[in-house]
Each structure stands twice: as C-alpha cells, then as structure tokens.
Chain length 320, copies 3
C-alpha cells in the first residue's frame, strides 16, 4: 500500500494551495554562456530562482540534471537553501534523472548517490524523492532535437537484474521510511517501469509503503511508436502514485499509414486529458505534489502556464 | 433564404452576450468508470454540468453523443432541465451526431428520432437543432487515436438516395417551422454536405427558410488529404449558416512531398483564421449561436479557451 | 559596430514600455472581399487599425506586403499617418518584404524604392527600416498552404552579385545615416543573409554603423530540412541585431527517420526559447524594437498573445 508523503501544509488541500513545483529540467546544467550550475555563486543561483519566482512559482523541484544538491558541500548547500528561502520558494520534492541503480557501469555509485539524496532531502525538509531507471542519453540522443525520437538504453530482459533493481529500490524505501521521506518511481520507456503493467508489477514487487509511482505519462505519449492509451495508463498506475511529473504532447498519428509525430505542448492542449486524469487520481486517493515540466522551447514559461491550468482544474477543496 | 433562429436575447447582440455553447462531445457517453450517461442520476449529471459551469460557460449544447435528451422519459427530462437551470446554464441549441436520415440500416429510425428531437427542443425552448448525414464510426475508426485519419462511411453517388436525404431534411424543416425551431446541417466529409459546393447545393435543394448550414470547417481541415481552402469554404457556406460548430486544427502540409499531418488546436492557434471568418459571417448577416468544440485532450478546458477567444474577436455590438 | 536606433522613448527601457510592434503581414494586400489595401479609403484603413488597437497594440510596423506607404502620394500618406495617430498607435519601424536590391529582374527598381522608403521613414519619424534579399514567391509557393515547404528563389553563388548586394546595402546605410534612420537586414533562407555565418559575414562586409541584423529565427526553424540550432544562430547573430522579427514554430523532427514537420506556433510554445534568446540579446546590448509576427490562422490574435508573452519575459528595467 503506497503511503502519502507530507506536503508541508496545514488544513485542507485544494486548488489554491496544492503544491505545484517548477521542474528545473528546462534549465540546463550549464548556461548559454557555458558556466556550470554546480559551481555557480549564490548570486547566479539567485538569478535563476528569481526567474522561477517571477514566473509565479512558490514551489521548486531542484532536479539534479540542473543542480546536484546532494553533491554540494554542507556550506554550499546551506547557501542554496538560503537562496531558495530568500525567493519565498519551498522544496517539497526532488527529482533525480539518469541515475539508475542498475546502470551497468555506474549502478553502485548511483545507489550510493541515491542514499545521499535521501539524507539531503530529509535535511532540507523535502518529503518526496523521485528516482528512475532511465540512463544517460546516448551520443545519438544528445544530438537529436528531441532525444525521444532515437532509441535509448533498455533495461535487459534479465530476472537477476530486475531483482537487483527491486531490492535496491526497496533498500532506498527502507532508508526513506527511517527518515520520513517517500520514494517515487518515474515511468520511463524501456525500463522495468516503462509500461503501466510493468510499473505496477515493479512497485508491487518492491512492496514498501514508502515507495510509489511517478506516472509520467508524457514520457510515453511522446514516443514515435505505438503507445498504450493514456486512459489505460492512468487507470492502472495512478492508484500507486505518490508524486506526479505532469507534461503533455501533441500527438499526430495517422491510423491509415501508421505515421506518428509528436511535439511538446502545454498541458491544456496536448493529447492527455489531465482534467480527467487528475479527477480520477484524486478519486483514487492521490494527495501527492505535482511537478510541472516542459521540454523544448521556453520550458519555464510553459511550466507556469501548466501550473495555472492545473490550479483551474483542481477541486476547490478535497478531504485531507 | 435561410432564416435566423431565436437566441433568447433581448437587446443588441455583441461580444458580451452572444450565446456560445459548450459542446458536450468531449464528455463521452460513458465515463472513465464505465457508467452510461443516459442512466446517470441527476447528481451525476450535476457533477458534469458543474464542471461546465466552473469552466465559465453559460450555454450548453446537450449533444446527443453524450446524452440523448429526446430518449429520456418526460420525468427524467424534467430532472435534466432542472439540473441545467440549477447551474445557471441555458440551452439554445442541440446537436445530433451520427444519426443520418439516410443511414442504410437505421435511416427510418433516425428520421423518427430526429422528429422527436425537434419536439423536445421546442419543449425545452431550444431554437436550433443540428443534424448531419455522417454515420457511425467504423471499428477501424473507433480504434484510431484520431478517427478522421481512417476512411469512414461515404454517402453513395446515387441521385435517389440524395433525393431522399433532401426530402427528409425538408420534412424536418417543415416540422421545425411549425414549432418555431430551426434546422442546421453539419458539414462533414464524404456526405452530401461534405464540400462547400455540395453543402450549398444541398441546402438550396432543400429550399426551406427553417433549414440552413452548420459550416463545421474543422471537420474538413483536419483530414489527412488535400482539402479546400478554409477561405473558399467560408465564402461559399457562411451566407447559408444558421448555427456554427467552431473548432480548429494545426495542419502541417509539405507542399513538396504532399505529406499532411493535423492535430487538434485551440481556435486561436490553428490554421483557420476565425477572426476573418467570423467577421465575414457577421457582415453576411450571421446572427446564429456558436458552439465551441474540441476533440482530444481536455476538450472542456480548450472549449472554454475557445469561448474566451471568440468573445475577444466578436464585435462589441452588431445590429439586431 | 552596429548602432542603436532611436525608439522614441524617454527614460529607462523595460517590459512596460519596450516598443513591440504588430507586423501587418497577417493582413493581406487585399481583403477577403478582394479590395486592394493601397487604394482603400482612410475609413477602411481605420477599420484594420481599429482591430490592431483593439488587440492591445500601441506600436505598428506598416509592413509593405500590406501597404506600401512609400508609394502613397504625400496627401494619402498624411491621411494614413492621421489614421495611425487617431488610433493612438506609433510607428517606430517599417519592414519591407520581397524587394531585394539584387533581384535579377527588379533590383534597380527595388533599390530606388528602398531609398524612397528611407525618406518616408524619416518623414514619419520611423527609426528603423528592415530590408531583405528574399524574392517574390514562386507560383508553386503561392499555391502552397505553407510557402516555406517549397523551394524558393536562391541568391546565386556569385561574388559579383554578392558584392553588388553589399554595396547597395551600404549605400542605403549611408543614406539612412544622413537622415537619422537605421537599416536592419532580415535573415532569410537561401539569401546571402540566410545562415548565421552568412548573415554575420554580410553585415561585417557592409561595415556601416547604421546597418545591423534582423535575426528572424522563425524564417529558418520552420524549414522542412535540417537547420542550424537556434542557440547557435542567437549567439552568432544577436550581437549585430538592431531590430527583431520574433515568431515561433512547432518543429517535429524524427532523428531516426529524418522526417521534419513544422507548424506556426505562439512564441511561448514553439521550439525557440525566446526567454533565453531575449535575455542573451539584452546582455549583449540589444536595445532595438521588437516586431511580433505570426503567419497562418489568426495572425493578429497570436501576435497579440506573443506581445503579452514578450512583456512577461522582458526585464522590468534595463540600463538605457
């Protein structure tokens, strides 16, 4: 049974106060001027977070493709936390990316990193940490305009590797529980958490109350291949969700020729009906935070547009 | 000469009060939980209409793909009307879908149904009823993400069938006139009302003051094949329009290779310039209601966005 | 070194007062009723400018594909200027289109026209005039839904012609300087100003302080062929920019098959991240006006949406 992470709220949850975090995936790990974010000064971080605040956000997911908070020294981490607070931003969740605990080369290292992330999350009062089994982009993916149009790494069809993945995630869940944090597993194609059935089966095998799913439907519907219907994915995965990366895509599909083309879209306009998906999730008991994402173009502005849309369709108030 | 249906208004028509109805096509005849709308309780209807009202609508087209009002018992119909009124919504128009009066199998039945719909419209104070010659989706269309990318049923190239269609629609027009209702004919590909010329020729053959066109341009521009320019369709059909389903599509078309891809879009952003189309229609005397539609994704939210856009581009006031 | 055109402002520049002009490219040279704009009455012009004002614009680029202000008689030009003023609109820039000074047939004529445009700009208080080397659409382009999906005219790989282009543009720059106007050169595929490197090389060869670039990135990213990354184009061209046509496109690109499809998009939603591009430009010293464009569909409404987006991402205030 998936538990509910704390959101840092008092009183009833509703459209006005539901935590909706800005993902930082639209901010690269280095800027157009080439500077690395990990080594930026507090003033430079402030410039980025000032933009996030200016776009109307009150919550932030310090995604590790932008900044590895867990790899900062304690002093630098305190500096970062101060900048976040100065901008009236709160962190209720933290997402990692491309740090699979069963990465063939770096799995052990990433497991260790993942434990470190959990400790740092607890230190910073962050209730949810998102992990995934997706791996580094291949050189071909890095050169593509849209990396998801090139085949990436695939989790092997190997029971032993899958068992290791399940055990390592359970180990993270146990650690998380001991410090009051929840683990969420991001749905991502060609991993053990890459289909609705695969994701559900995986989280059931992990079988830990502090481990749930992050049903990132956008990761799937953007693929240039036949995909599961988003309705089926919602029905199957949402009952296990404890965090949710929400983003959307235009999906052109010619059912006569089989041609498929996708383009990143605002949440309101894409193929996934988030009005229905979110309503169904809340009926199913979902009380986790949201993280609005958008790849391609002005991700921060579209994320802000997504946040405003999400507030419009959330219920005025739900039972705690 | 196409007459003008009543809109239930006093005083001059303009952007603030022009009736813009929410289509209910984005609400399926059954919900994600599988319940049929026809058998829902008043409380369940209220939940749906509450969403429509929450999205800012004051007008509703109770499209029969969602709920067949004409097939409710008088008691249930009164219940439904009460829910509509409770939500401060008004019904000035009603659209039917896939009930062609020349359907090869069900034409007689659908003609009878169409007469029943007219009587119910009059009973409920609805001034316009939209009929079409398009038929049930084929199994291949039902499985497609976008049904219009698969060839559907086609009206036969048969003068006798066309003559029957004209006569049955005229019969509906006569009935409509006798009870103060107007009939609008929806443009839809591969039917006798499937091109601008075909639609105009058809409505002229019907030749009844209570029968006009519903120039649903979106039905045409979304097709993955060469299509008439929307400008030509507007110029030809709008002078006969008495109701208007408005929706829009992104249309990618490579004029070198001939490739075409379409995706549902907000009205403001798609290939049809509704600013010009609506201005031309009003100059040509159009004073009917609008029905904002959107298939795919969150249809209700996009319909609301479409409504706000339409109010922005409507004139502040037009002569009655 | 590219100079900065006057914007007609007092005090510091920022998101509230930065001139953002409506392009008139979305208004054809003739209306849906067939009337030519060049011969319209002041009342008819007023009807168009009333729409521009109603869409919230305070600045106008009287693009010559809509109206050739420089070809009006002095009396008619005064009439036009009065209509502009009546609508509380200001003109800080004027764009020409398809009047290349090295057009094989009309180059001499267009050079003369360009000089006339400069004089008229000075007369009307317009600080920036945009010229380009792109030529008339071919018949195949005119029939296409999106003209950029058909190969158009190409500047010849001929040093003599290029030298003539450089000299004629320098001649225009000298004229412009003498009357207090700046010349901006629009980036457009298959011309000498058709790639980032080509544009920079061209403007450096012109080498005149009153001649800069108009890095119209949208012209490039919409092409159905491999294109430079917008980031590279921004980095290279923006330091030479003195005016900026901004517009955006959805760009679907399958990196496995090589298929490309583009669709006009609102600035916020397309592939170019204007938040980053504009921030980089301002850091690099850009202080020119913006011209919001949109082809296809309701260009005026999308241009207004683009303007509002641009104001949101501009800094509150920059040093003069």
């Amino acid at each position: 049974m998936t538990g509910t992470p704390h959101l840092g709220l008092n009183g009833p949850l509703g459209r006005d106060n539901w935590p909706i975090a800005a993902a930082m995936i639209n901010f690269a790990g280095s800027t157009m001027n080439g500077a690395g974010v990990q080594d930026q000064t507090a003033e430079q971080w402030a410039r980025t977070l000032g933009q996030v605040r200016d776009a109307g956000f009150r919550h932030l997911d310090p995604t590790d493709s932008w900044l590895r908070v867990a790899d900062l020294s304690p002093e630098r981490r305190a500096e970062f936390a101060a900048v976040v607070e100065d901008h009236d931003l709160a962190m209720v969740s933290l997402s990692t990316a491309r740090r699979s605990v069963v990465d063939p080369e770096h799995g052990d290292e990433y497991l260790e990193y993942s434990h470190r992330v959990l400790d740092v999350a607890a230190e910073l009062g962050i209730g949810t940490v998102s992990f995934g089994l997706f791996r580094a982009l291949t050189p071909e993916q890095q050169q593509a305009l849209w990396f998801w149009t090139v085949q990436g790494a695939e989790d092997p069809d190997d029971d032993g590797v899958r068992r290791t993945a399940v055990e390592r995630i359970r180990e993270l869940g146990e650690h998380a529980e001991s410090i009051g944090v929840h683990v969420s597993l991001e749905m991502y194609e060609d991993t053990y958490i890459g289909t609705a059935d695969g994701a559900v089966s995986f989280v059931r095998d992990v079988d830990h109350p502090h481990v749930g799913l992050n049903p990132d439907l956008g990761n799937i519907v953007r693929l240039h291949r036949p995909v599961e219907s988003w309705q089926d994915m919602v029905k199957k995965t949402v009952p296990y969700a404890n965090y949710w990366h929400v983003k959307n895509y235009y999906r052109a599909e010619d059912a006569t020729t089989g041609a498929v083309m996708t383009i990143p879209s605002p949440m309101e306009f894409g193929v996934i009906n988030y009005r229905d998906a979110v309503a169904f999730a809340i009926e199913s008991g979902y009380r986790g935070a949201f993280c609005v994402e958008h790849y391609g173009g002005d991700g921060l502005s579209v994320s802000a547009t997504n946040r405003d849309y999400l507030r419009r369709i959330l219920p005025a108030e739900v039972p705690a």
